[in-house]
């Protein structure tokens, strides 16, 4: 269990213990209350547990789902404690709680033991002179081969393969053909005389449609049915009808 310092501009800093999980919090409460783990006053501990959850929530600490599951479990034990036992053989509703707390407390002591051993070894590093002829390639002792190493190697192969074989360019099916677009533009031109090509292109939802539109306009210009006109750089580009019936005829033929 560590601690977060919650420094406030005013008032003293509050040191809140950081719990490793609901069991850690429960163990802390049992110790705080100086009660025997074999005779836990569930009602008290349950209330205090919920108070801690509220505090953690108020401080915006992430309260993992496990804490809530445990809260529900405590409530269930608390309510069962209120019911009279039907027989002497009926197990104490707290039995599983005690068992899990004891097991977790063991884990904590074993963890402390490992931490102690590790701290003794902090300054010890393996000597490794580079031999004259080292392959430089990382190698794995056969005895250390495990499925993890195998899966990792497979992952690397697949990653490299994907890097070296990027997926080919996939074209989305055209929403409309150039021909269709030409017919559409000719329709606009015959009724309006001119057409704001750039804004039309920029407001298309699909990039493909904008490109199709541009190609259709260029096609019309090439066939002599229309010309483009722009006042100055970056201004609107107008598609203007040339008014040549032959060219329009020809364009409609193409379209």
């Amino acid at each position: 269990m560590g601690a977060v310092a919650l420094g406030e501009a005013k008032g003293p800093a509050v040191h809140l213990p950081v719990f490793q999980g609901p069991l850690d919090l429960l163990l802390f409460l049992v110790q705080e209350n100086k009660v025997s783990i074999w005779d836990i006053p569930v009602a008290t501990i349950c209330d205090q547990y919920q108070a801690w959850l509220r505090t953690m929530e108020e401080l915006d600490l992430v309260v993992a789902a496990e804490y809530l599951v445990c809260a529900a479990w405590l409530l269930a034990i608390k309510s069962r404690m209120l019911l009279p036992r039907r027989s002497k053989d009926e197990p104490d509703p707290r039995a599983e709680l005690v068992e899990r707390l004891l097991a977790y407390e063991k884990v904590k002591r074993q963890a402390a033991e490992l931490a102690g051993l590790l701290s003794l070894r902090e300054g010890v590093f393996s000597v490794r002179l580079s031999p004259v002829e080292s392959s430089g390639e990382p190698e794995l002792a056969l005895e250390e081969l495990d499925v993890g190493a195998l899966a990792q190697a497979m992952g690397e192969v697949l990653q490299r393969f994907r890097r070296e074989h990027p997926p080919g360019l996939v074209l989305a099916p055209l929403g409309c053909s150039v021909q269709e677009k030409m017919r559409e533009l000719l329709g606009f031109l015959s009724s309006q005389g001119s057409f704001p090509l750039l804004s039309h292109m920029l407001t298309r939802r699909e990039r493909v449609e904008a490109v199709t539109c541009l190609l259709a306009a260029l096609e019309l210009v090439w066939l002599g049915a229309a010309r483009v006109h722009q006042q100055r750089s970056f201004a609107e580009i107008y598609l203007v009808s040339t008014g040549e019936p032959v060219a329009v005829e020809r364009a409609l033929g193409y379209a």
Binding site: M1, G2, Q20, G21, P22, L23, D24, L27, V30, Q31, K34, V35, S36, I37, W38, A64, E66, C70, R100, L101, L102, A103, Y104, E105, K106, V107, K108, R109, Q110, A111, A112, E113, L114, A115, L117, L118, L120, R121, E122, G123, V124, F125, S126, V127, R128, L129, S130, P131, E143, E144, D146, V147, G148
Partner: protein, 182 residues
């Protein structure tokens, strides 16, 4: 009978390039048929004693079923500074608890770890796998066939132990009963 000094020198050179514990068997195999177990023991003892000199930065260790040359803890801080290793590479409390569960109860599955700790420990397990302190050792034949985890040789080296049997038992740690309440 081989030259004792040369034999010690050869052993030291082997351990210096190995970078990991080397078993007695491998040493004997490398040194050739004429070298007996006694010769080897004498050579290793010679190396051990030579590094007891206060001017030596190294020492001979017996860990994880073999011998290795390692730096002496007294100069550990300087070495750490040289390697640019920060204290942050220390294991978190969550990692220590998970490692303790695996070390004392192996082989063990993630659901078992989660149950004992009361929290999901999959992220911690992945970190321990990446640091090569634990390894996957098959699957448990129960519903869902979860992966089984064991500790590695690297953990033994890190702990400076010959085998996990050297870890203090629960009894030695003070059996749980009553020890929770002050």
């Amino acid at each position: 009978m081989p030259d004792h000094h040369l034999l010690a020198a050869a052993c030291e050179a082997i351990l210096a390039v190995a970078g990991e514990p080397v078993s007695e068997a491998t040493l004997l195999k490398t040194l050739g048929g004429e070298v007996t177990q006694e010769d080897l023991a004498a050579a290793l003892e010679h190396i051990r004693q030579r590094h007891e000199h206060p001017g030596s930065g190294l020492r001979l260790e017996k860990v994880a079923g073999g011998y290795r040359l390692a730096t002496r803890p007294e100069v550990g801080e300087v070495v750490r500074a040289f390697l640019g290793i920060r204290a942050q590479s220390r294991l978190s409390q969550a990692a220590l608890e998970t490692l303790a569960i695996i070390a004392y109860r192996q082989p063990v599955t993630l659901p078992e770890i989660n149950f004992l700790r009361g929290v999901n420990s999959s992220g911690v397990v992945r970190t321990l796998l990446e640091r090569k302190l634990i390894r996957v050792a098959g699957r448990k034949q129960v519903v869902g066939t979860p992966l089984l985890y064991r500790t590695t040789k690297e953990l033994l080296v890190l702990l400076g132990l010959q085998s996990l049997d050297e870890l203090p038992t629960l009894e030695e740690l003070g059996e749980a009963e009553g020890s929770v309440a002050p």
